[in-house]
Amino acid sequence: MVASTRRGDAPPAVAPRRGDVILRIRGLKKHFQAHGIAALGRRRPPIRAVDGVSFDIHRGENFGLVGESGSGKTTIAKLVLRLDTPTEGEIRFEDADVHALSGRALNAFRKATHVVFQDPNSSLSPRMRVRDIVGEPLAVQGVRGKALADRVAEVLSLVGLNPQAAERYPHEFSGGQRQRIAVARAIVAEPQLIVLDEPVSALDVSIRAQILNLLRDLQDRLHLTYLTIAHDLAVVYQACDRIGVMYLGRLVELAPSEELYRDPAHPYAKILLSAIPKPDPKLRHAERLPLTGEIPSPAAPPPGCRFHPRCPIAVERCSVDEPEWRELRSGHWVACHLA
């Protein structure tokens, strides 16, 4: 589906690219409590959208988070960008606690991080010109006039759009072009970390490869670090250096993408991987593992291992003991008793 990949033209990157830790997440939790009429009478258990997640992102890498809807991926994105406050835990960007920043340091953080959302229709204000949309992160920093216009023209050509697009409105562009506008906006203030929240899932399949290639080119040229969030393991596998698999607010496995692809340890990751269409005809008849049932409510997660009710290999212990988050091999983490 995605044409050329980094893995195609380079030796497999088993170890993550060398780089210091740019983002450190420790014990992150976000619980939503129902208020008002919904909470009348008795106190309902909180929705545990994110329930104890820890990982590091290294400078220059593309870190992927995958999981079904409801697994807490987007909540993590919002917490990382400080659009919401965590219930517990810590997020450190460049060694500074993101949720304790204020004043100048907060401003610097805002400049150093940005995000591309899934749907360019709702992420681009319909009432603003492209010039104002793309220029907003700089305008917030106090950049005005010609400096702003020049930079906007520069990033528009960087993402493959005509600088004359600046004077037009988002609805005059196609879906792929709109996502390019969203990308232009994300890089305009020269950030270090960009969160890509389902960057291609709203796009036509034929456009996806273009946008993914664009993102990769920009990463190399501008030395960006990405946190990619997707429900589609195929996309994440092609694009990312390391992948974390989420299930019901927890990480269940974390490994370099090549290793995860070759040798997944957690049954949930195995099932997800078996659902990716195989390009190799010899493997086409490889068994596809079924995933039965629905993701349980994050307000009442199952005891023991959260995946045990849907797990094909669950044993009795899985419904009692919560599996430990342990390092299977160097850089390959998993939370499963049987792995």
């Binding site: 919002k78 960008l81 400080r82 659009l83 907060l106 401003n107 805002r110 400049k111 991080t113 940005h114 995000v115 959302f117 749907d119 709702s122 992420s123 681009l124 204000s125 009432r127 603003m128 104002d132 949309i133 907003e136 992160p137 917030v140 920093q141 906006r185 203030a189």
Partner: protein, 303 residues
């Protein structure tokens, strides 16, 4: 039709009757706000050019000409098209001059209450939590107060006059703007482009001006036009009760109040200002409805 041919499925063609030319004026009236445009156009022209339009001095009392009926009824003359009042003043001229109060009050109050209500609504909707709770309790309190009763009380404390009328009316109309805008902002603030602005470090002032205000503007405009009629009736009621505009300034509500005593002998003294208030208020409502339908893309017809 060509698409059905391509598909090869021939469906019977439904012939639509050609629109009757006789109904063309009616369709025009339905599509464009003709009635509101005429009424409001007239009122605004009256207000701006009162001295040019009024045939007589609205304050000049000619006691020999008192209580003359309108021109078309028995005993009326073209000298006083809409008759005269109990002091012999020309009713038409007084209606013309009275429009000045109406226009002034409408402009001042609707602008002030839309601005106040929009700002309060945006604050409550965007910040939520305690700010929202406090502001919305103020709104509830305001809406729960019986407006006219409280207006009467207020105006007996303050002294009657134009300023007083404006203050009272704004006090009783801003809350509906606040409620509506808050509801709209609750949905707008979760839009991705607002989240993106926050992620880029935009402060609340910038988000209000660049993202929220353009989003609520249409709604506010529609409510403002609908509020016009509320304001006109409110002003007339206050003036009727002698608590609003006081003589010698002419106001339709005050004319109604003065004419009340002569209702049995001079019907035109209450009917004519009453009709003026009624048609201007109706025009405001119709225009508001039209504006709502026009600005709402879901209702917009493909012309």
């Amino acid at each position: 039709m060509s698409s059905t041919e391509v598909l090869g499925a021939r469906r019977p063609v439904v012939l639509r009757r050609a629109p009757s030319p006789w109904l063309a004026p009616w369709r025009f009236v339905r599509r464009y706000p003709l009635f509101p445009a005429i009424i409001w156009g007239a009122v605004i022209v009256f207000a701006i050019a009162s001295p040019l339009i009024a045939p007589a001095d609205p304050f000049r009392q000619v006691l020999t000409d008192r209580l003359q009926p309108p021109a078309w009824s028995e005993g009326g003359s073209m000298k006083h098209v809409l008759g005269t009042d109990h002091l012999g003043r020309d009713v038409f001229s007084r209606i013309v001059y009275g429009s000045r109060v109406t226009v002034t009050v409408v402009l001042l109050t609707v602008t002030a209450s839309a601005a106040t209500g929009t700002f309060v609504g945006m604050l409550a909707g965007y910040f939520g939590g305690t700010v929202d709770a406090l502001l919305m309790r103020a709104v509830d309190f305001q809406i729960a107060l019986p407006a006219l009763l409280f207006g009467v009380m207020l105006s007996s404390v303050l002294e009657p006059g134009l300023r007083n009328v404006v203050v009272i009316i704004v006090l009783f109309t801003w809350a509906s703007f606040a409620r509506l805008v808050r509801a709209e902002v609750l949905s707008l603030r979760e839009r991705d482009y607002v989240l993106l602005a926050r992620a880029a470090g935009a402060g609340w002032v910038r988000i209000f001006v660049k993202h929220l205000f353009p989003g609520v503007l249409n709604t506010v405009m529609v409510l403002a036009t609908l509020e016009v009629s509320v304001v006109i009736i409110f002003e007339s009621s206050l003036s009727f009760l002698g608590l609003g505009i006081v003589p010698p300034t002419v106001s339709w509500g005050a004319m109604l109040a003065e004419g009340r005593e002569y209702m049995s002998v001079a019907w035109w003294l209450v009917t004519i200002p009453g009709l003026a208030i009624f048609s201007v208020a109706l025009a405001g409502n119709l225009f508001g409805d039209w504006l709502r339908d026009t600005l709402d893309p879901h209702l917009r017809r493909s012309a």
